[in-house]
Subunit: 343 residues, 2 copies
Amino acid sequence: MVMEVDVKITINEIARRAGVSKATVSRVLNNSKPVSEEIRSRVLEVIEDTNFKPNAVARSLSLRKSHLIGIIIPDLSNPVFSRIISGIESQIRNLDYSLLITATDFDIDMKIQHIHILKDKGVDGLILVTDHGNEHFFQAMLDFEKPIVMIGSESYVKTIPVVRIDNYSAAKEATEYLLGLGHKQIGMVRGPLTDPQSGLERFYGYRDAMVAAGYYDESLVAEGWYSFDDGYRAMELLLSKKKSVTAVFCACDLMAIGAIRYATEQRINVPEALSVIGFDDVDVARMYSPSLTTIKQPFEESGELAIDELIEMIENKDRPIKNSHHILKHQLVVRESTIEIKK
Amino acid sequence: MVMEVDVKITINEIARRAGVSKATVSRVLNNSKPVSEEIRSRVLEVIEDTNFKPNAVARSLSLRKSHLIGIIIPDLSNPVFSRIISGIESQIRNLDYSLLITATDFDIDMKIQHIHILKDKGVDGLILVTDHGNEHFFQAMLDFEKPIVMIGSESYVKTIPVVRIDNYSAAKEATEYLLGLGHKQIGMVRGPLTDPQSGLERFYGYRDAMVAAGYYDESLVAEGWYSFDDGYRAMELLLSKKKSVTAVFCACDLMAIGAIRYATEQRINVPEALSVIGFDDVDVARMYSPSLTTIKQPFEESGELAIDELIEMIENKDRPIKNSHHILKHQLVVRESTIEIKK
DNA sequence: TTGAAAGCGCTAACAC
DNA sequence: GTGTTAGCGCTTTCAA
């Protein structure tokens, strides 16, 4: 162990100690060009001794590539989103990229601002997990000028790949399942219709199934935000409008649990007197009493797929744009909260 | 709107268009030195026109400061952790720093590896959310050479600030609350004792309260990982050892819910026949039926505090090290899952 | 006040 | 195969 005092270890220092040029060091570092075995091992030895790690910032500047991926997400503490991130993160570990994550609290101006910030930070690509956008938002996406992938929602920019599920079919399926159990008075607790996927599409799926069965009735529908409290309130409203509902389809699991809570407090037992079906299959769905019948979304998988797609775009810039639109499979998971209607 | 085709906008280009040197542009950008009003406004105008944003990577290289903060966390999709991150994120938005987040799946080698990776990426500081470490882990922390703050757990490196709650007192308080309700046969579903805070300290708090009351008995204790399933299994074990328990303190809310689930399946009603108290106060605690009495942890607040501390360390390097150890306040939240013992 | 120039640590084109 | 050198885009002495 030689005493080497405090010289900052850079590629220059390695070059000096190994008695070669820094270009050569760079070559062995990146395997970018052939280097004679003798020199290579000499350089590697010095690198080993000094525990040298190339400075990623300098490398970024030189390559104009940061190996950073930006993620913009509405809310980090919501499992629906954190599980997507978790999927992205676990997938990216092997790929030598890192994640720059920002949250927007569903504020559209914040989204726009974050796109700019992340661009300035030099991220190589962006994953947007978002509900809806406006003109400025799409302009910001255009201005970003590097690869973007969206999760969960459409983009009006047609060249941007999207990863999502078929919310319409999933909602229809959920409703049809309830119809199949003999329910006719099936209510829905829907999300805001300004939200194209989780709000609108899920409602349309429900509505069309109900219309087809001949049971659709506007007073069977209540609306709220995707939360326990709003599910509770919506159920209250629903029951005040239609005392006779025997089943409810909710736009997300938290709403479903809120709905169950309200019903239970009114001595309406789930599932005996009321069947409830949720959407998402977050952890609570399985843990709740009664456990929740729901539509399972592949959150982690969508994160993984999105990051794969994004890295592909980043590393093969020349590759023709595939305009890929990935529709992932959802799945109806039947548990305790739904039951055949009593005659 | 002049047609300016595709010249890359850099500080050089701004300088050229404004007819000044890039040093001057840099000065107006950073307010680092006086610039005559006339030139300043001329430069600002060009910047405005071109929508120029300085390249953060180049700036990092020059300043040897990345304005990036690394976060290492066990699991992104666990609300206990994602809420901490959420607190960090919301606090950092105003501060012109960005977050580089990595997850470790509770794997200690992964933690060490990520410390290195984040160091290479040039982050200015690190927040570690972790349970326990080993020698190599602490060595990696030392090698990091830049500010670190830990959340939730002690560090054996005494100069590293810690933000956490007093798990011992909180657990004791929870147990004493049950004692106060008249319970004597109080079980505990604890976490692994290898985990110093959530495992060991919470158990000690429980044990000491029970010993002081004269009711401690080893067969009242079962152990598991912090999950619904393990809570379920631990409750099963506990009841098989001690059929007479009337209350259980669990090391986290998920375990508590698992325990309730098992009890309910055995026709042991909560809270009538069994009082259950959790720990954390994650969202489920409030939403569950029965809603869960629990110890509320200030997750968001601990994230905010940690990031404030870290930024302070980063920006005032000279400042003497305060060896700050922040113990945040927990709070017992009484809900439906606990009740006075029936005589 | 302002500008010229060196330097942050690395990559890559070019020459040998 | 290897070295020389010119950047990458910015900040900051140092002179003027």
